[in-house]
Symmetry: C2
Subunit: 398 residues, 2 copies
C-alpha cells in the first residue's frame, strides 16, 4: 500500500491550511486577549487606517439624546498603532465577569474583529463576543456538566397559515429517561427571533448549569418566533435572504398571542411534557414580556408561572385586537386562579421603567400578588440573562 | 386601562429601533442586491476608504502559486465610489445558481458586509453568503416543504474520555410517526466541526427538499465532530473562546475512527433507528472522506453505503494507528461483504485528484465495484453540496 501514501498527514495539513489561508485570509492576531487579571487587549491589523476604535458594552456608556429621551449607548476607545500596522487597546482595569459584545470602527466604518470568529447576530447587527468568567457569568459558559439538546423544529400554525420554526431545549437525559417534564416558554424582544435566547441569551448554557447545580428543575425550554408574519429567523425561512429589518410585521397586534395555544398543543404532542397548567411557565423580554402578559391573561388556564422581563407594558390606541381589550377583567380572572408566580423584573435606567412602575401600581391597587426584581442598567441583554438565572430556579418547585 | 397606555405600539417600535441603531449602527444599504436577471450589486458605505474591493467565489478564480502546487483563489473586483461615500460593484453578467460567499477588502482590510447579516463560519474565517436560486441551487434554499428538525446533542465517549457534541437531522414527521429510520453519518473536513455540514453544507435544506420531492428516502443524518480532541465547535465547548486554529489536534491519527462505534451505539439508543448495516451509510468530505474510508473498512459490518467526497487518500508514514495497518486485507474483507454502494467523487482540479485516481486504480485492479462521479473545479464547498445531492438519493433504496 506504500504507493497510495501520496501525501503525509502533516503535508496535507499544511496544504489545506494554506488553501484555507489563501481563500479567506487567516486569523493570525490574538484578539481579544483576556489576560490573567481580566484586563483585555483588542488588536487589529489595519496598516492604512487613520483611526481605529473599539466600541462595546465593556466600555463606560455614553449618553445619547434622542427625541424619545436619553439613551445609554456603548462607549468607544481609541486603539494605538504599533509595529507593522497592528493597532491595539488594552482596558485600563480588569473587566467584571460578563458576556461582552464589541465591534471595531476603522475610520468610522463598523467592522467585526477578523481574529475573533465568535459572533452573534442581534436584529440587523452582528457583533463579536467574549466571556469574562466568574460569578454569575460562569452560568453563561459551556462547563463540563451534562448538556441538554438544542433543536430547531418546525410546526404548522393553522391560524397564521404558515410553517414556523422554534427552538427547543430538552434537558440532559431527556432522550432516554422516559420521564415527563415541565415546559417553560421563553419569548424574545422586538427584532429578535427563535434564535435570540439561545444565542445572546445563553439559555442552553444557563439551564445546563442551573440544572447541574441543582438550582433549577430539569425542564423543557421552548423559544418561539414572536413575529407572526415570519416563518423563521432571517435567512432560515422561505422568504430567503431578505434584510431582517424588513421582516418584522405582525409583532404586537394580537395574532402571535392568539396563535400561542397552537404552540402549546404542538409541544405537548411532540415532547414528553407534563401537559398541565401547574407545569407550564411563560416569560419574555421587552416585546416578549408584553406577549407573556397578554397570553397569560388571555388563556388563564395555561400558565402557572409568568415572567415579565423589561416588559413593554402596552397596548396603544392603534392596536385593535380583542386580545388587548378588557384587560382589567382578564387580569381579575387570571389572578383569581392564583398563579404560582407572577414575576416582574426591570433595570433602573430602562426606558420602560415608568410603564412597569405604573403597571405594578395597578397590581398593588388590586391586591394581585407578584414578585419584583430590580437590577442596575437598562434595556440590555446583560439584564435579560440575569433575569433568566433568577427566574428559572423559581419554577416547578411545588 | 387608558392610563397604562404609556407608549403606542408605533412609538415603541421607533424607540426600540432607534436604541438598536444607536447601539450598533443599522443596516441601511441593500447589499447584496440580487436583480431580476441574477446580476448582483454589492454596496458599502466607506467615505474615508481609498480602495474598496469585493472578493468571493462568484468571481473568476485567480491562480495562486505555493510550494505545494497551484491553487485556485477567489478573484477580486473593485468597487466604485459614488455619492456620499457609497461604493458599488455590479457583476457584469448574471450569476449562475449557487450559494456564494464573499467579503469586502477596504484598503486591504478584510471585512464582512455590514448590510448582510447572513454569515457562515468556515474554520477560522467568517464570510457573507447569498443564494442565486434555480436548478440544483434551489435544493439549498428553505422552501415551503415539510422541514426536519436539526438538533445539537451531546454524547459521552468512553474511549476519548470527554462529552462531545454532534448535529442530528431528523426528517419531517419523525417526532410523531412512530417509525424507524435509516441513518446516514456525514463527516466534515479538516478545520470543520459538527456545524460544517448544516451551515456551509446546507444539509438540512438539501435533505428537506430531496425528501419532499420523493428523491431521497426519509432518513436521519448524523454530523459528528471529527477532531477527536474537541468537545464541540469552537466557542461551543468548555474550552471556551480559544481560536479555532488552536483546536485541531487528533484529527487523522486513528482515535476518531476507533471511537466511531460509540457514536453509532449512542444514536441507536437515542433515536428510532433501523439499527442494522443495511440501513446505515457513511460519507465525508476531504478528511471526512479519509475517515469514512477507514471507518467503513475497520468496521465492515456497520455500513452498507460509503461515500468519499474529495477524499484525502492516506495515510502517511507518520500515522501509526492500527486503524491504518493492513489496508488491503481490510478492504478485501469489506468488499467480500458486498456493500450496496461505494461511491467516489472528486473535482477535476482538486489537488487530491491524483491520489483518488491511484486509489480507484487499486479498486479496479482488485475488481472491487464502486461508482465514480467527477465534477468540475476543485476542493470547495460547492462540490461537496453537489455530491450530497447526488449521493443521498442513492441511499436505502433496496
Amino acid at each position: 500500500m506504500k504507493r497510495f501514501t501520496i501525501l503525509s498527514a502533516l503535508m496535507l495539513t499544511a496544504v489545506l491550511a494554506m488553501a484555507q489561508q489563501a481563500l479567506w485570509g487567516g486569523a493570525q492576531l490574538v484578539s481579544p486577549e483576556i489576560h490573567p487579571d481580566n484586563t483585555v487587549t483588542f488588536r487589529l491589523h489595519a496598516p492604512k487606517a487613520v483611526k481605529v476604535q473599539v466600541t462595546g458594552d465593556f466600555l463606560p456608556t455614553q449618553k445619547m439624546k434622542t427625541p424619545y429621551g436619553e439613551f445609554d449607548a456603548p462607549g468607544t476607545a481609541d486603539l494605538t498603532e504599533g509595529k507593522e500596522g497592528v493597532w491595539e487597546y488594552t482596558t485600563p482595569s480588569p473587566l467584571a465577569p460578563e458576556l461582552y459584545s464589541y465591534t471595531f470602527l476603522v475610520d468610522g466604518l463598523k467592522i467585526n474583529d477578523p481574529a475573533n470568529v465568535y459572533m452573534i447576530r442581534d436584529v440587523a447587527s452582528v457583533t463579536n463576543v467574549f466571556i469574562i468568567g466568574g460569578g454569575r457569568a460562569d452560568l453563561y459558559k459551556v462547563n463540563a456538566v451534562p448538556h441538554g439538546t438544542l433543536s430547531k423544529q418546525w410546526y404548522h400554525s393553522p391560524s397564521l397559515g404558515i410553517e414556523r420554526r422554534l427552538t427547543v431545549y430538552t434537558p440532559a437525559g431527556y432522550e432516554t429517561s422516559g420521564k415527563r417534564y415541565p415546559v417553560f416558554y421563553l419569548l424574545h424582544g422586538m427584532g429578535g427571533d427563535e434564535n435570540a435566547w439561545s444565542e445572546l441569551g445563553r439559555a442552553a448554557q444557563i439551564m445546563d448549569n442551573l440544572i447541574a447545580q441543582g438550582k433549577a428543575e430539569p425542564m423543557i425550554l421552548v423559544m418561539t418566533n414572536g413575529n407572526a408574519a415570519q416563518e423563521a429567523a432571517p435567512g432560515e425561512s422561505s422568504l430567503g435572504y431578505v434584510p431582517p429589518t424588513m421582516q418584522l410585521p405582525k409583532t404586537m397586534e394580537g395574532s402571535f398571542e392568539t396563535h400561542f395555544p397552537e404552540v402549546v398543543k404542538f409541544i405537548d404532542k411532540n415532547y414528553r411534557t407534563k401537559a398541565n397548567k401547574k407545569s407550564r411557565a411563560i416569560a419574555g423580554l421587552s416585546m416578549g414580556g408584553f406577549h407573556s402578559l397578554h397570553i397569560s391573561k388571555q388563556y388563564p388556564d395555561l400558565f402557572n408561572y409568568v415572567g415579565l422581563f423589561s416588559a413593554a407594558i402596552m397596548p396603544g390606541k392603534e392596536t385593535k385586537s380583542p386580545v388587548y381589550e378588557e384587560m382589567e377583567g382578564k387580569l381579575k380572572v387570571q389572578f383569581a386562579k392564583k398563579p404560582a408566580l407572577y414575576w416582574i423584573a426591570i433595570g433602573k435606567t430602562d426606558f420602560l421603567y415608568k410603564a412597569n412602575e405604573e403597571y405594578r401600581r395597578l397590581l398593588d391597587a388590586k391586591g394581585y400578588p407578584y414578585e419584583y426584581y430590580e437590577s442596575d442598567e437598562g434595556h440590555i441583554w446583560k439584564n435579560w440573562r440575569i433575569y433568566l438565572t433568577e427566574f428559572a430556579p423559581k419554577l416547578f418547585r411545588q
